[in-house]
C-alpha cells in the first residue's frame, strides 16, 4: 500500500498545474470558478476547444484518438489540479466521461476514428437519452422505437431529463428495435445527431429556476445505419457497460468541486460565528471526513480497476457522494440561516450555497435513486434475492 506519488508524477502535476494556471488567469479568466453547468455556454465551448488543442481534454484516452495516454496516477493528478485551479465543470462531460469511454469499449475502429477525436477536440458535445416518462428507475421499460429504412435508423418516441441537450450535437439513446420485445431484450444503442427536423428539445425548469434538463422528442428522427454501438438488440449490455465508467476518474474531479463547496460552507461559518457552534462543528467534521473517505474510496477503486478488478465496493460510490452532497446542502442552509433564503433583485437565482441546497435534491435521484442503489448493492454485492416484479402496466 502506498499513497504518495513519485517524483515523475509530481513533475506531471507541476506541468498540468502550470498550464491550467496560465489559461485560467489569462484567456479563460472569465470562466474560472464557475459552478453552474450551463452558464456562459459559448465560452464553455471555447474552453472545450482549448483543452482539446493542448491535449488536456481526455488525458486517459489513447493518443491516436486525441488523448494523452496518461497513466491512472496521472489522470488522478490532472483531475485534482483541474479542480484546484478553479476550472469550470466540463460542458461536454457526458461526451468525455460517458459517450467516449463507451465508444472506446464497444465501438468499431471506424466509429472510434469518427467520434472520439471530435469529443477530445471539443467539437461535438453529447447528451444521454435514457430515461422516458414511463422508464425511470425501471429503465428497461423503454418505449422509444427505432426501425431501419434504407440506410437509416428512424426513431420515434420521447426521452426526458436529457441534461445539456440544448447545447448538444449528438445524443446516445436506447430504443426498442424489436417489435413486441420487453424489458432489456430487443433494445439498441443508437448515436443520433441532434440538429435535425425530427428532434425537438424542450427545456424543463427545475427547482433552482434553471433549466439544465430537457425533454427530447424523436419524431421521425434519423441516423445513419452505421451509428449503432454493438449489434441490434444488444443495447442494454452497452448501456449497462457504461455504468462502470460513471465511477471512473471523473469522480475525483467531482470531489474537488465538492471540496470547493465545503470550503465555502466553512468560510460562511467562520464569517457568521457558526464555526463556534459545537453542533455545526460536528457536522462540518463529518463532511470533512466523508469527503476524504470518498477520495480514498475512489483511489481503492481505481487501483483495483488498474489491476483489472472491479471491486464490489465500487457499487457503494454513487449513494455515498449523492447523500454526502445533499447533507452538505442542508448544512450550508443551517450555517447561513435565513440569510440563505433571500436574494437581492427580482430574479429567482440564488447564490452557490443556497443553490446547492436545492440542486443536491437531484443528486439522490438521477443516475439511479438512492433506493435503486441500495437494491443494486444488496443484490449484486451482497447476493440477496432480487426484487419480485409486479405486473401492473
Amino acid at each position: 500500500m502506498k499513497l504518495g506519488f513519485s517524483p515523475e508524477e509530481e513533475a506531471f502535476r507541476a506541468e498540468a498545474a502550470a498550464w491550467l494556471k496560465s489559461e485560467l488567469e489569462g484567456a479563460f479568466a472569465d470562466v474560472r470558478g464557475l459552478t453552474s453547468l450551463i452558464e456562459m455556454p459559448e465560452r464553455r465551448r471555447d474552453w472545450e476547444h482549448r483543452l482539446g488543442e493542448a491535449g488536456w481534454s481526455c488525458v486517459g484516452w489513447p493518443k491516436a484518438y486525441g488523448g494523452r495516454d496518461a497513466t491512472l496516477a496521472q489522470q488522478v493528478i490532472f483531475a485534482e489540479e483541474y479542480a484546484r485551479a478553479g476550472a469550470p465543470p466540463r460542458l461536454n462531460h457526458i461526451g468525455v466521461e460517458l459517450a467516449g469511454p463507451t465508444i472506446l469499449a464497444f465501438g468499431s475502429e471506424e466509429q472510434k476514428a469518427r467520434f472520439l477525436p471530435a469529443i477530445a477536440r471539443g467539437e461535438e458535445i453529447w447528451c444521454q437519452g435514457y430515461s422516458e416518462p414511463g422508464a425511470g428507475s425501471d429503465l428497461a421499460n423503454v418505449r422509444t422505437k427505432a426501425w431501419r429504412e434504407g440506410d437509416d435508423w428512424v426513431i420515434e418516441g420521447q426521452k426526458v431529463w436529457t441534461s445539456l441537450a440544448q447545447f448538444s450535437d449528438w445524443i446516445f439513446a436506447i430504443a426498442r428495435t424489436e417489435d413486441g420485445s420487453k424489458g432489456p431484450k430487443g433494445l439498441s444503442f443508437l448515436l443520433v445527431p441532434v440538429d435535425q427536423p425530427g428532434v425537438t428539445v424542450r427545456p424543463i425548469h427545475q427547482i433552482t429556476g434553471e433549466a439544465e434538463f430537457n425533454e427530447t422528442f424523436f419524431d421521425g428522427a434519423r441516423t445513419h445505419a452505421a451509428n449503432i454501438l454493438g449489434a441490434p438488440g444488444d443495447g442494454w449490455t452497452v448501456a449497462m457497460g457504461l455504468l462502470g465508467f460513471e465511477r471512473g476518474v471523473s469522480t475525483l474531479a467531482q470531489q474537488m468541486g465538492f471540496r470547493n463547496e465545503l470550503d465555502a460552507v466553512i468560510a460562511a461559518a467562520r464569517a457568521n460565528g457558526e464555526a463556534k457552534n459545537p453542533l455545526i462543528r460536528q457536522r462540518i467534521a463529518k463532511a470533512e471526513i466523508g469527503l476524504k473517505l470518498m477520495r480514498y474510496g475512489a483511489l481503492r477503486m481505481l487501483t483495483d480497476a488498474e489491476g483489472g478488478r472491479l471491486n464490489p465496493s465500487a457499487l457503494t460510490y454513487k449513494i455515498q457522494w449523492a447523500t454526502w452532497r445533499r447533507d452538505l446542502g442542508e448544512l450550508a442552509m443551517d450555517v447561513l440561516g435565513q440569510a440563505g433564503e433571500t436574494v437581492a433583485g427580482h430574479e429567482h437565482a440564488f447564490p452557490a450555497l443556497p443553490n446547492l441546497f436545492l440542486y443536491s435534491r437531484a443528486d439522490t435521484i438521477y443516475g439511479g435513486t438512492n433506493e435503486i442503489q441500495r437494491n443494486i448493492i444488496a443484490e449484486r454485492a451482497l447476493g440477496l434475492p432480487r426484487e419480485p416484479r409486479g405486473d401492473l402496466k
Binding site: 500500500m1 504518495g4 460536528q282 471526513i289 480514498y296 487501483t303 443484490e379 447476493g383 440477496l384
Partner: protein
Amino acid sequence: MHFAFTDEQGMIAETAKTFFAENATSERTRTAMADTGVDKLLWQTFAAELGLAGVAIPEVLGGVGLGMVELAILAEEAGRHTAALPLLASLALAAPAILAGGSDEQKAHLLPRLASGELIASFAAVNSDGTPGAMFSDGTLTGAALHVPHGASADLFVVATNNGVAIIERGAPGLGITPLTSMDQTRPYARLDFGGVAAEALANPREAANAAFTTGWLAIAADALGGAQACLDHTVAYAQERVQFGRSIGSFQAVKHRLADMMIAIEQARSAVYWAACAIDEESDEAPFAVHAAKAFACDTYTHCAGEMIQLHGGIGFTWEHDAHLYFKRARSNASLLGTPDWHREQVAGLAGLDEAA
C-alpha cells in the same frame, strides 16, 4: 500511488484470517470471557508460533519490523472474531510507547519480551470521566487509573500522566490492581491505584504518549472495521436462510436496504482505516486528521452494524447464546475507549481550520 495490499500484505491478511477463523472460535472466546478475558493459548500461538505479536516492533528488538498497515490487518482480523487477546493493550498501546519514548536500555529490556508474548503490557491514560488520573513526580506515581484494558492480565503498565510517562511492573509494592466486571468481557478493564508507588520514567514522554495514542486509535478503528464486517457477513447469511411470509427475509427491501447501508458504511470505514495506516507509515501531514477520522468513523460504523445485527436477527439476536452481543458490547467499548467519536470529530474540526479567523 497503489491503494491496495502488496502481495506480502495480502499473505499476512490471509494467514491472520485463517488463524483467527480456526482458533478464535466463539467457544474459546466464551471460555476466556468467563475467566480473565485472555485466551492464553491463542496468545501464545499468535505470538510465539506465528511470530505476529512483534509485527510493528523492529527486527533488532525481536520483532518483524513491519508497519501500521500490517498492524491494522492483524487488528481487523482479530476484531472480526472478537478475539480475546491483549492485542490492543500490549501491542498497540504499550509497545509503541516504549519504542518511541524508551531509552535504548528500556527498549532492549522490554520489547523483545512483548514481541515474543512472554510479557503482556497495558496502558493507562488520563481518566475520561474528568477525575484526576495518575500523577508522576520524583519517580513516584500517585492517583488512580480507572479503566485499564486487560489490566488484570498485564505484567507491566505504561502510565501516561500530565507530567511524564512511567513504567511499572505488576508486582510493584503498593500497586493496587482491581479487576472490574466489564460489559465487554473480551477486553475487561481493571482499576489501578498507585498510592505513591515507585516507577521508572520513560526517557521521551511526549513521543511515548503520541505513539501510544496514534497506534491505539488506529488499532481500535481496525478492530471496529473487522467487527462491523463480521456483523454484516453474519446478518446477510441469516437474512438469506430465514424464511417468513414464504420468502427469505433478505428479499424484503426493509431488510436488504439496511444491509446495503451497513456495507456502504463499512467500505468507507475500510478506506479510513487503511488511509490512516498508510498516512502514519508514510509520515504524511494528513496522518493526525486520518487517524481521528478513522477512529470516529469506524467506531460509529461498528456501533451501527452491531445494533442492526441484533435487530435483523430478531429474538435470537437478543440471546446470550448468539454471538451478536459479543460484537455489540465490543463496539460499545471501542467507541468509548481513548476518545468518543464526537471527541475525535472535534479534533477534526480543529484541524479543518474552523478556529482560524474569518
